[in-house]
């Protein structure tokens, strides 16, 4: 059995604030009016959520694929980009993302390569297939109103392992970690 876990990343952009003026009210009969300025800064925000592990099941001689639907929030009308990195750790989840390649690894240290596809919608076909590791996919559209997409999803990721990779590998459980980092454009 081979499993892939997914992780999230967020990026913020900050701006400096300016100081404005206030006015105390004057001493007066009846009423007195003061005014103050209110300022709030909304930075470029992005968030990926709704991630679940992908269990590719048991190899039975055919290619294996697994998909996870996720939510990517991006405030305003701007796009986001997504970058994939990966890690493997002798059949266990890996806390360190790497850029050497998409690999699943067994406890014996044997590895199987996999590929990654991404699509920034649920209904559409995968526009980005065989995505290069640590290579940003720009021009993605996120949900600009709800950080959790209304508890739903608006994007999907798919991992694929070719039968030829598994046929040449020793039996065992192969595990890897796929990291997805989204950033505002």
């Amino acid at each position: 059995m081979k499993k892939i876990a997914l992780a999230i990343g967020t990026t913020f952009a900050l701006f400096s604030l300016s100081s404005l003026a206030t006015n105390d009210g004057s001493l007066a009969t009846g009423s007195s009016t003061g005014d103050l300025d209110i300022t709030v800064e909304i930075p470029d925000l992005v968030q990926i959520s709704g991630l679940n592990n992908i269990d590719l099941g048991t190899f039975s001689g055919s290619d294996l694929s697994g998909e996870d639907q996720v939510c990517v929030y991006r405030n305003g009308s701007g796009d986001y980009e997504i970058t994939f990195t990966a890690g493997s750790n002798n059949g266990a989840a890996d806390a360190a993302s790497g850029v050497t390649g998409y690999e699943l690894e067994s406890s014996a240290g044997d590895t199987i390569a996999y590929t990654v596809d991404f699509e920034d919608s649920l209904a559409g076909a995968y526009a980005d297939t065989d995505v290069g590791i640590n290579s940003a996919l720009a021009g993605q559209n996120g949900d600009d109103a709800d950080a959790t997409c209304g508890s739903g999803s608006n994007a999907k990721v798919r991992v694929n392992v070719a039968a030829s990779e598994m046929e040449s590998s020793p039996a065992g459980d192969y595990v890897g970690t796929l990291y997805m980092t989204v950033s505002p454009e």
Binding site: F15, G25, S32, I38, V40, E41, P184
Partner: protein, 304 residues
């Protein structure tokens, strides 16, 4: 603020044929309308002749006692025309032998030291004045209204009184209110995970520590909505008030929060007595485009 005295009335009672006391040139005292800052003070000069008889050229020394409404301890006050609440005043009698803060003789038995008599108004010893002062703190603490009082001053020649009634020291205190200590509220940078909340502590002065109400709007009109703007984008916010450190009460534009107690000290003596809270909801910010959103919040304190 110095107020000129005007029109001090005088009644003269001559009770002893062998003595002569005459006061001329007195005017009524109107301290006027308090503007809300500083104290009120006025003085009036007059002539006091004291001699053995109307035709005498021999001056006679005298001392002075004063009578009038007091606070129970002999300190003079003016009385509110509606509820008889008190406004402390200081009555200073400026004679030719010194100035004296007068108190009610009926309570304190205070007499000035002997003053030199004068045989006519041309003599320096005849030049007398009275000063009335209401202190700023007392004016601020007093409830709005018109305060007045009638006071009597006795000039005593060898214990033989000559009584002069001075009428109508008065002052009017309008319903005053002032909001101060207003500062900008910087909600900072939206974290993405919670509402943006900011507060500003305020001072609301209300003379007599009377009640007031607060309302707010996002523009000069009372019902202008609470909106921050960033170019063509807008972002709503909520406004709440509280008195002291109590619970915040949310208000819509123009909606009054009533029954608040004002401070009788302008600028609250350097402190505060109310607070405004501004809240921008997380969901609203998540649904808004990035950028800096600003707006002006108008806060109105109304006398009640």
């Amino acid at each position: 603020m110095l107020r000129r005295l005007s029109a001090l009335g005088l009644l003269l009672f001559s009770q002893w044929a062998f003595a002569f006391v005459e006061i001329t040139g007195l005017d009524d005292i109107q301290l006027g309308v308090w503007s809300g800052s500083g104290g009120l003070m006025g003085s009036d000069s007059y002539c006091l002749v004291s001699k053995q008889s109307a035709t005498s050229t021999t001056p006679v020394r005298y001392d002075v006692a004063a009578y009038g409404p007091d606070d129970g301890a002999g300190n003079f006050v003016l009385l509110n025309s509606v509820d008889n609440s008190q406004l402390p005043i200081q009555l200073t009698w400026n004679g030719n032998n010194g100035s004296y803060l007068m108190t009610d003789y009926n309570v304190t038995r205070f007499l000035t030291p002997l003053q030199n008599g004068a045989i006519n108004c041309g003599q320096a010893a005849a030049n007398i004045s009275i000063t009335i002062e209401a202190l700023a703190g007392d004016l601020a603490s007093a409830r709005a209204g018109t305060y007045s009082g009638s006071f009597q001053i006795d000039a005593l020649q060898s214990q033989n009184p000559r009584r002069y009634v001075i009428e109508s020291y008065s002052v009017t205190i309008p319903e005053l209110v002032q909001i101060s200590n207003v500062d900008d509220i910087d909600l900072g940078v939206f974290s993405g995970v919670s509402d943006a909340v900011g507060t500003d502590r305020l001072c609301v002065f209300r003379n007599g520590a009377a009640n007031y109400a607060l309302r707010a709007s996002g523009g000069v009109n009372a019902s202008d909505p609470f909106v921050l703007n960033n170019g063509g984008n807008s972002l709503g916010y909520n406004v709440s008030f509280r008195e002291g450190s109590g619970a915040f009460t949310e208000r819509t534009p123009g909606q009054l929060l009533t029954g608040l107690s004002g401070s009788s000290a302008q600028n609250c003596g350097g402190g505060t007595n109310a607070e405004v809270q501004v809240r921008v909801l997380q969901a609203d910010m998540l649904a808004s485009a990035p950028g800096t959103y600003t707006g002006i919040l108008y806060i109105v304190a109304e006398a009640q």
